[in-house]
């Protein structure tokens, strides 16, 4: 009995220590991070800005990873939880992230009594939300596709609990985790840059970072420095790809169940990391600590030879579990209640005059999205068809597209705006272009994958039947890539709605340019003094339209297409 109690006490002490450190950091940080009002546009500050931006991304990613792995794990292993968590995830994925930024800033700034830390937390929270759902979904998919035999084999060997998580669940998630992390970082950069830019409205606090640097530089007309800033960003993205993502992709092949020939080329960088002395020492130490702890634990609580898996858990565990359950339900209800009350006060009539324009704004935004969508299709389909069937082209286009999509288009906004804005109808064109950048990569990737997956013998068969060129496209390629086209469109439109928020209301060179659109309305409502009612109304309107479109249109279309056009033998 004694060793077990001692063990438990040690764990509790460790947890308390971690919490204490966290609290100290938070409180201390609040006092020591100086507020920044000005973003001087100077080359020598660039590395500092880059470091700040990167740090935000990293912190958000770590949180997102921890959260999403647990979320996906719980949803995948607990039937009852799954019924709530997965639909919730679905909705969360459809909500445009940037719509929440003003609210997040408001919340966190109030929480930290107006310090810069609040704004930092808001931006980190924003990046977190743009990354987490993707990863959670990936984990869920990975765990639910683990073959039953693996579970049986582990159960047969007496592997349970944390050991099972470490040996089975976590490794099984790795391929999807890596892939989705790359996407998440790309998305994260996009939003980070955008929200660093957003922050520099007329009087809010500025966050030092690449986004604000770019915004300032272009606003001051310093093209050279703007380009340099974009260059730094591209450098970081490319460096991350070469040094981190490629080796990780290579390493993650080890964790796949399917033994299909991979398209990932072996990475020399991976070998470098593997032999890198500090990492090697760290890995060895981790492994040793892990197994030593688990062996010790096994000795303290040896696996009973006839393991009592059906028996109900001991009384104290049940009581604690019930208390935790009650507390968390109570807490959630309380939060819902407060949110509900706040919402009711905000939405109390009379509604602001501008709300009448919401339907028209939605329509205008929708049109812009449609135009951007058509333009995106116009270039991504030919590229996908051309590159997807030529392996040599894929080897070039693939990585290029991956890196290009990781470079946040939001960093190019200032440039694009600078060049387009002064022409007639310029704001609309700029808006469409900016929305386009948020849509096209999702389309390209999905289309590439779809065309690439068309079996070679089907292509040969159509050719031998005399169906070439346009005819082949119409009979084979187009139908075969329809499911991927729809998946890409779903995510593309999601990206488009997000981009809309930063595209329809532009603050440039001291002037504001705006068009009639729901994004503009949302943005405008955050301008001081801030129109909370409009913020909520426009956000709700947008979310409703998006969820509506997803469920009633895209999902149905996908089911029909998958049913009819999926290639299976």
């Amino acid at each position: 009995m004694k060793p077990a109690v001692v063990q438990a006490a040690r764990y509790v002490a460790l947890v308390l220590l971690v919490l204490a450190v966290g609290v100290v950091l938070l409180v201390g940080g609040m006092r020591y991070i100086p507020p920044v009002q000005d973003i001087p546009v100077e080359v020598r500050r660039l590395p500092g800005y880059a470091a700040w931006s990167f740090l935000r991304m990293l912190i958000a990613y770590v949180f997102a990873l921890a959260f999403s792995v647990s979320y996906g794990y719980v949803a995948a292993t607990n039937r009852r939880a799954e019924r709530v968590l997965m639909p919730l995830l679905d909705i969360l994925q459809s909500v445009p992230v940037l719509g929440f930024f003003p609210a997040a800033v408001f919340f966190f700034v109030n929480l930290t009594h107006g310090s810069r830390l609040g704004v930092e937390m808001a931006s980190i929270f924003l990046i977190f939300t743009s990354q987490a759902w993707n990863i959670a979904f990936g984990c869920y998919e990975a765990i639910t596709t683990i073959p039953q035999d693996s579970f049986d084999a582990l159960a047969s060997q007496g592997v349970r609990g944390w050991r099972k998580f470490r040996t089975l669940y976590l490794p099984a998630c790795v391929p999807k985790l890596v892939y989705n992390s790359i996407l998440s970082w790309a998305g994260g950069w996009y939003f980070l840059i955008a929200c660093e830019i957003l922050t520099i409205g007329p009087s809010t606090q500025a966050l030092p970072g690449l986004g604000s640097f770019l915004k300032r530089a272009s606003a001051e007309g310093k093209t050279g420095l703007t380009l340099m800033g974009i260059g730094v960003l591209i450098f970081i993205v490319v460096a991350m790809h070469l040094v981190i993502w490629r080796p990780l992709e290579s390493w993650s092949e080890k964790f796949r169940y399917e033994f299909a020939a991979s398209t990932v080329t072996p990475s020399r960088m991976l070998r470098f990391w593997r032999d890198f002395p500090p990492l090697l020492a760290l890995r060895r130490a981790w492994k040793r600590a892990g197994t030593r702890a688990s062996v010790y634990w096994a000795r303290v609580r040896p696996a009973k030879v006839i393991a009592d898996l059906e028996a109900p858990p001991p009384m104290w565990r049940r009581v604690v579990g019930r208390i935790v359950q009650v507390l968390s339900i109570a807490f959630s209800l309380y939060v819902l209640y407060r949110a509900g009350r706040a919402l009711v006060t905000v939405l109390r009539p009379p509604w602001p005059r501008e709300s009448v324009l919401i339907p028209a704004a939605l329509g205008a935004s929708f049109l812009r999205l449609l135009v951007a969508y058509v333009v995106a299709l116009a270039w991504t389909i030919p590229v996908a068809v051309w590159a997807g069937t030529r392996p040599r082209a894929m080897r070039v286009v693939g990585p290029f597209a991956q890196i290009a999509s990781s470079v946040p288009a939001t960093s190019l906004f200032p440039l694009i705006v600078m060049f387009v804005i002064h022409h007639r109808g310029g704001t609309n064109v700029a808006a469409v272009l900016l929305v386009l950048t948020g849509m096209q990569w999702y389309l390209l990737f999905n289309l590439l994958a779809g065309v690439h997956a068309i079996p070679g013998d089907l292509r040969e068969a159509t050719r031998s039947l005399g169906l070439t060129g346009w005819k082949q496209f119409r009979t084979l390629t187009l139908p075969a890539m329809l499911p991927s086209l729809i998946t890409g469109s779903i995510t593309g439109w999601g990206g488009g709605w997000n981009a809309l928020i930063v595209s329809e209301y532009l603050y440039f060179g001291g002037a504001t340019y705006k068009v009639l659109g729901i994004g503009a309305m949302l943005q405008e409502s955050t301008e001081p003094p801030g129109n909370q009612a409009m913020m909520v109304l426009s956000l709700v309107a947008m979310v409703v339209v998006i969820v509506f479109m997803n469920r009633l249109f895209w999902r149905r279309l996908y089911n029909v297409a998958a049913d009819r056009f999926k290639i299976e033998y």
Binding site: S150, D152, A153, Q157, K254, A303, A307
Partner: protein
């Protein structure tokens, strides 16, 4: 020989949207200590489910499983199981796959290494320790499965169609090696329960054959195999036994 496993009135029912599906109906039998028992039957007769109930991976809907006299509730870690699909974790090497259950039993690193090396040697996989499953042929993979099951030194070895996923020649090879292993007095495993749909395999390996029927899954007959070892597969007695079992299944 005393019975090491007793199955009493075991029934298994799965609820389905169209109504319940009864996989096993009132199955009762014993497994004697030290015998090789084969369970044969047509596909769908529930023999794999029965094996998992014996192990404790699946609880029976009704009935009781007893091991060495004690009623079993949950997974019985005195058994080791070999799977038709090998069930190896693709991200672990051969050695790591074999060691997977040893940590849970409190063995430290040296002990685990020794234990794994011992059983890898017995199945002939010495030299393959750092291979990953995807590099191995089916026969090698199943050897890993076997070594893994043996490494926990179980009293009973359960085998679920262990050679069905292998080609003819490899199965012949592995069957022989299994017999050699079983004859090895150093092996802690005395009792083997093997599920198969290949009658010749059952007659070649087993001391006793349980014949099952389907819809619902139940035991039709228990046949003792008295042929001397090594079994002469071309002998008349062998063929007669095969025919007898076959006629019971059809």
């Amino acid at each position: 020989m005393p019975a090491i496993i007793e199955i009493e009135h075991v029934t298994k029912i799965y609820p389905r949207p169209e109504g319940e599906s009864q996989i096993l109906a009132d199955v009762s039998f014993e497994v004697a200590d030290g015998e090789v028992l084969a369970i044969v039957g047509p596909s769908g007769c529930g023999k794999s489910t029965l094996l998992r109930i014996i192990h404790g991976l699946i609880p029976p809907s009704a009935g009781v499983v007893r091991f060495a006299g004690r009623t079993q509730e949950g997974i019985n870690l005195n058994c080791g199981m070999v799977f038709q699909s090998f069930a190896l974790l693709p991200w672990l090497t051969v050695e790591e796959n074999v060691e997977i259950g040893l940590e849970a039993r409190g063995l430290d690193e040296t002990q685990r290494h020794k234990r794994a090396a011992k059983y890898l040697d017995k199945v002939g996989l010495d030299g393959n320790e750092d291979a990953y499953p995807r590099e191995l042929s089916g026969g090698m993979k199943q050897r890993v499965g076997l070594a893994r099951a043996l490494a926990v030194e179980p009293k009973v070895l359960l085998m679920d169609e262990p050679f069905s996923a292998l080609d003819a020649l490899t199965s012949i090879n592995l069957r022989e090696e299994l017999l050699d292993l079983w004859a090895d007095p150093q092996l802690p495993v005395d009792t083997i329960v093997i599920v198969t749909h290949i009658i010749e395999e059952a007659v070649e390996l087993a001391d006793r054959i349980l014949v099952m029927a389907s819809n619902p899954g139940r035991i039709v007959e228990s046949i003792k195999v008295d042929l001397p070892r090594p079994r002469q597969k071309k002998s008349a007695e062998f063929a007669a036994l095969v025919d007898r079992v076959f006629s019971l299944i059809v």
